[in-house]
Symmetry: C2
Subunit: 665 residues, 2 copies
Amino acid sequence: MLTVTRTNHDRMANAIRALSMDAVEQAKSGHPGLPMGAADMATVLFSRFLKFDPKAPTWADRDRFVLSAGHGSMLLYSLLHLTGYESMPMAEIKRFRQLGSKTPGHPENFETLGVETTTGPLGQGIATAVGMALAERHLAATYGRDLVDHHTYVIASDGDLMEGVSQEAIAFAGHMKLNRLIVLFDDNGITIDGKISLSDSVDQVKRFEAAGWAASHVDGHDPEAIAAAIEKAKASNVPTLIACRTTIAYGAPTKAGSEKSHGSPLGAEEIKGARQKLGWNYPAFEIPDDIYELWSAPAKRGAEARTAWETRLGKTGSGKRAEFERRMAKEAPVKKLNGAVRAYKEKLAAEPLNIASRTASENALGVLTEAVPEMVGGSADLTGSNNTRPKGMPVLDADNYGGRFIHYGIREHGMAAAMNGMSLHGGVIPYSGTFLVFSDYCRPALRLAALMGERVIHVFTHDSIGLGEDGPTHQPVEHLAALRAIPNFHVFRPCDAVETLECWQIALETRHGPSALALTRQNLPQLRKQNDKKNLSAQGAYEISPAHDGKAKVSIFASGSEVSLAVEAQALLKERGISARVVSVPSFELFAAQDEKVRKKVLGRTKVNVGVEAAVRQGWDAIIGSNGIFIGMKGFGASAPFKDLYKHFGITAEAIADAAASKVK
Amino acid sequence: MLTVTRTNHDRMANAIRALSMDAVEQAKSGHPGLPMGAADMATVLFSRFLKFDPKAPTWADRDRFVLSAGHGSMLLYSLLHLTGYESMPMAEIKRFRQLGSKTPGHPENFETLGVETTTGPLGQGIATAVGMALAERHLAATYGRDLVDHHTYVIASDGDLMEGVSQEAIAFAGHMKLNRLIVLFDDNGITIDGKISLSDSVDQVKRFEAAGWAASHVDGHDPEAIAAAIEKAKASNVPTLIACRTTIAYGAPTKAGSEKSHGSPLGAEEIKGARQKLGWNYPAFEIPDDIYELWSAPAKRGAEARTAWETRLGKTGSGKRAEFERRMAKEAPVKKLNGAVRAYKEKLAAEPLNIASRTASENALGVLTEAVPEMVGGSADLTGSNNTRPKGMPVLDADNYGGRFIHYGIREHGMAAAMNGMSLHGGVIPYSGTFLVFSDYCRPALRLAALMGERVIHVFTHDSIGLGEDGPTHQPVEHLAALRAIPNFHVFRPCDAVETLECWQIALETRHGPSALALTRQNLPQLRKQNDKKNLSAQGAYEISPAHDGKAKVSIFASGSEVSLAVEAQALLKERGISARVVSVPSFELFAAQDEKVRKKVLGRTKVNVGVEAAVRQGWDAIIGSNGIFIGMKGFGASAPFKDLYKHFGITAEAIADAAASKVK
C-alpha cells in the first residue's frame, strides 16, 4: 500500500468531484451525488491498492474493479481519465451521455476500455463481481499464483444491496469463501425517494456476517480508516464488506446529504458553492498538472507489477503458457472441439439414441468438456435434472477451486450473474442449468450477457408441458418467445441427440454472445440418423424430412420435441395422399440471420404452413405467416402425466395432420 | 391455543405423513420428503393456532396459510382433507397430480378451495405472504380490529430462503413491522442436490434478525417447542421466523434425512418400513375415525370464531359494512369509476394536454384513486419518475397502516410478489411502479399473477429509447414482446392522455388478471381531442386517424409514443399524394380477443402495412403480416438525448413515410 498525504488525497478526490459535477451539468443529465460521495473511497482504493495498468487495460492479472452502482458512472470515467487511460481524454468527459461517446450514462464495458462490466441495473454489479472473484480462484488453482493473483473490488450502493440478487450473490460468495472479493458499500443513507428510512431498516453488516463475510463500518470520508479496512480485508480468509458511511454529493453546499443530488445536475449556483467549499479553484474540466501528477502514481505502480508478471509468464513452460493465453484470449480450442463433435456424430450415426435431449446434452458434455478445459459447469440445485455434470467432473468449491462443477444453490439469478462475471474475467466458459421456466428468475442477468456479448451457456431443461406432473408453475409456455425477444441472445431448441450436439457446438463457438439450450425431460427419437459432416442446426432451420414425392402441399415447421410429432404427422398425411415436408427450427435467431435466398428455400412455397411448438404462437408468424396454422399452447399448462397433457392441449400428430388436411384444397 | 396430547399429536401428524407418501406413490411422482418432515410443524399450526373454517374457505377474517415450499403440496392437501374441506375428499387425494384433479403437483389456488396462493416457484410464497400480511394491517387500520384481525403463516424451505426475492420480502416485512406474519422455516438441511452444505452456509436466524425480525431455532419435531415459539411470535411486535430443525421424510427407514426422499416416490418397501416406524397400521388412503375426530377440532374452533365475527359484522354500520363486503368481494365501484372517467374525459376534450403518458397516468390516478378507495399505490424507489403517487396520497408505513402509498424500496420482485399477496388477500387493488426495463426483475411474480388471475396493476414507465441518456441498460426493447407473451396478462401502451385514462379504466375493471401500463418519460401530443363516450382502447386497436379520402393505400399501425409519429407520417404521405390510415394499438391482447369481423375491419385491406414501435418486431407480424414493414428496434439502444436516438435508430415520421412510399405502386 502506498501512503498519500491528507492534502494530496483531498485534492485527488476533489478532482473526481469536480469532473463529475461538471460533466453532469454539461450533459444536463446524470448522477452527481454518488461520485462526489464515494470519491474518497474510490481515491483510497485506486491510489493505494488497485493493481492496474492503463497502458494494458486487459492485462490478465489486473485487479478487477466493479462500480455496481453504475449510475455513478462519472466516478469511473473520472478515475479512468485521471489515472491515464488514453482512451478517456477530457474530450470524452465533456461528451458525457452523448451519442457515440466513451462516456455513456451507465458504464458499458463494450464501449469503454477500463470498464470491467456493464452496470446500472442494480444488484448486477456485485453479483457479477462474485463470478470474477470465483474465476480468479479457479484459475489461480489451475495455473498457480505466479500467473493469477488478484483482487476484485466493488463499490455498491443501498440499491445494490436491496435487490434480491445481492442476497444470492453474497450467500454464494460467503459459502465459496471468496476472500479476494472486497465490497465497499457507499452507505449514504439516501435513495431516490428520500432517506433510506423510508423503505429500509436492514443492518447490512449483520446481514453480511450472517452470510459468512467479514464486515465492518468505517467513516467513508476518512482515507486512513478506509485504507486500514481494505488492508485488513486483504488479509481476510473470507470476503469482506466495508460499509463506508458517506454523505451523498459531499461538498455541495445545500444538496449534500439529500436525494436532490442523486439523479440530476446540481445547477450552476450549487456547483459554484461546491467549488468554494471544496477549495477547488479551477474552471470546469480543468485539472492542474500537479493533480495529474499525483494521479499518475498508481499507473506507475501498476506498470511495475505488470512487468514483473510478464517476466513470470515468460518463465512459464510454453505449453502451459500457450494454454493460459489461449483461454484468457477467449479463443475456444476449435480443432479439438471440432474433432470431438465429429467423432461423437459418427457414434450417434452408428448407434442412434432415443433419449431426452437433456440426456443427449449430458452425453455431449462428456466429450465437449474433455475437449474444452475452460468449460466450468453448474446447476441451481437441479444437477440430476439438468444433467449438467458429466461423469467424473470434480466439484469446484472452497476446498477445491480447481474443480469444474459448481453447486450454485437455489439461486438462478445469482448464478447467471456470476456466470457473466466468470466470462468477463476470462479464462472460463461458464455453463449451467435450471428449468426453462426459471429463466424468468435470471432474466436481468441474461439480458446483460446479451448486451455485453458474453459467452455464457444456459442449459434450460424441462422445456414444455412435457415435464408433466409438476404443473403450470413449472411448465414454460411463454419462455421461448420471451428469450427469443432478447437481442443478441441465441435460443436453441434441438429435436434430437444430433441437433443437441450441434447446438452445443454453435454455443461454444459463439464468442460474443450468450446461448440457451431448451431441452426436454421426456425421451425423443433420434431423427438425424445419417452422419452429416455439416452442422445443419447452424442454419437455424432446415428441411429435416423432405416430401416423399418432392411435391409438398404442406410445410410443417417445428422445434425440439415437436419435430418428431411433425414427422409422424407427415406420415399420417401421406396415408391420406397429402404430400408434406418437415422443417426443423432449432434456432429462430440463426435462421433470421440467413440471407433471403436461403430463407426462401427453407420456407418453401406450399400454400399450407403449419407451425408446431408446445408454447405460445408469438414469433412463429415470421415463419408460417399470419395465416399459418399454429399447433401449440394458448395459455398455461396443467398438472398431469405428459402424454395426457399433449393430448389435452391438442398437440398431437393427428391434430397436426387434421389441421393441415383441412386447409389443403 | 388448544392443547393436544403428544399421542394425539403424533397420530394427527402421521396421518399427514401416510397420505403424503401414499399419494406420491400412487401418482408415481411427487415430493414426499417435505410433508413428512414438516408434518409436526403443520399439525401444531393447524390444530392449535390457525383460524379457519372449512365450511367458509373464503371467510374474510380467516388466518392465511401459505405453503411457500409448494412442492410439498401433499402436506396442504392432507391438511385440507383431514380438517374437513368438502372439496377435498379422499378421491381427490387419490388423484394426486392427475388431469383435472383438485390435487395438482403444486398448489394452485384457482383449482383448489383452501389454497390461498399458487406456489412452487421458490421464494414466491413467502414474498406473497408479506403482501397478505400488509393488506391485513391496512384493512385493520381502515375497518378496525372487529372486522380484520388475523395472522399470516408461512411454511418455507431452504430454497425459499436462498432465492433472492426472499431478501426483498423479509427486508420489506421487517421494515413494515408486519408482526402478524409468522414464518416456519422447515430447516431440514437438505436440497435436491444433497446436503445444504454443498451450496449454503447462511445463518438464517442472524440474517432475519438483521432484517428486523424476531428469530429463533426450535426442534421441528417437538410439538410443545413449536407451539411455544408460535405463541411467542403472536405476541411479537415484529415479524417472526421460527427455524424448525427437521428431518426430511421423517419416519422413512432409510431415506429420512436424505435428498433421495425429496422429489420422488419412496417405493413400496420404504413405505412399508415407514408405516412400521411410525406405528401407522392402516392401509393406504385409510384414516381411522378417531383421527378424523381429532382433526375436526380446529374446524369447530374456526366455526365459532367465524360466527362471532359475523355477529360483529352484523353490528357494523350498513355503509361501512357494504363497503367492506364490496371490497372483499373484489367488486370495483363501477359506477363511481365510470363517473370519474367520464368527467375526466370531458375535461381532456376541453383542454387537451401534451404531456408524457406517465404524467397523464398521474393525473388519471388523481381521479381514479378518489373513486376507488381500495387502490393502494407504490413504487420501487422511483416515485417521482413513475408518477404513481397522486398529490396528497398518504404514505402507508409502520406508523400509518391506513396510508395508501408504499415506498417498496429498490425491490421490484418483492414488490410484485407483495402486490399478488395483497390482491389475494382481498380488499385491496394494488398498483405500483418501476421502469419497464425492470419488469425483468419481477417476471416470476408477474407470471404468477397471470396464472392466478389476480388484479394487480403495474405502471412501467420509461418505456423505450425515449428515456434517453440512461442508455441501453435502462432502455427496454424486448420487454413489450416478453410481457405480451405471458398468457392472461394485459399489456397497455397508450398513445396519449385519453388512451392512458382508458387503459387505466380497463385495468381496474379486469377482475381476473394483471395489467401493465407502458408509459413514456417524454411528452406526447394528445391525439384524441373529441370526447369519445366509448372506451376505444378496449378494442385493443382502432383507427385513430382515417385516410383523408377514405381510399387508404397504406395502413400504419403503432403503439404508444409512436402513434403520433405515425400521424405525422400520414401527413407527409398525404403531401406526396399517398393516402394512409393510422391505427393505434394500445393492447395486443384485447385486439386478439376481438371477433374476426372486428379484427378484419381494423386491419383493413391495404397492400402496404407498416408497424411502428420503438421495440423489437416480435409479435407485430400477427398485425402487419410477415411481409409488412416494421419500423422499430433491431438491437439494444444507446446513451444519448432521446431525439438523437430516435433519429439514430431511424424511428421518425420521415422514415415511416419513406418506407411506406417505397412499397406503394
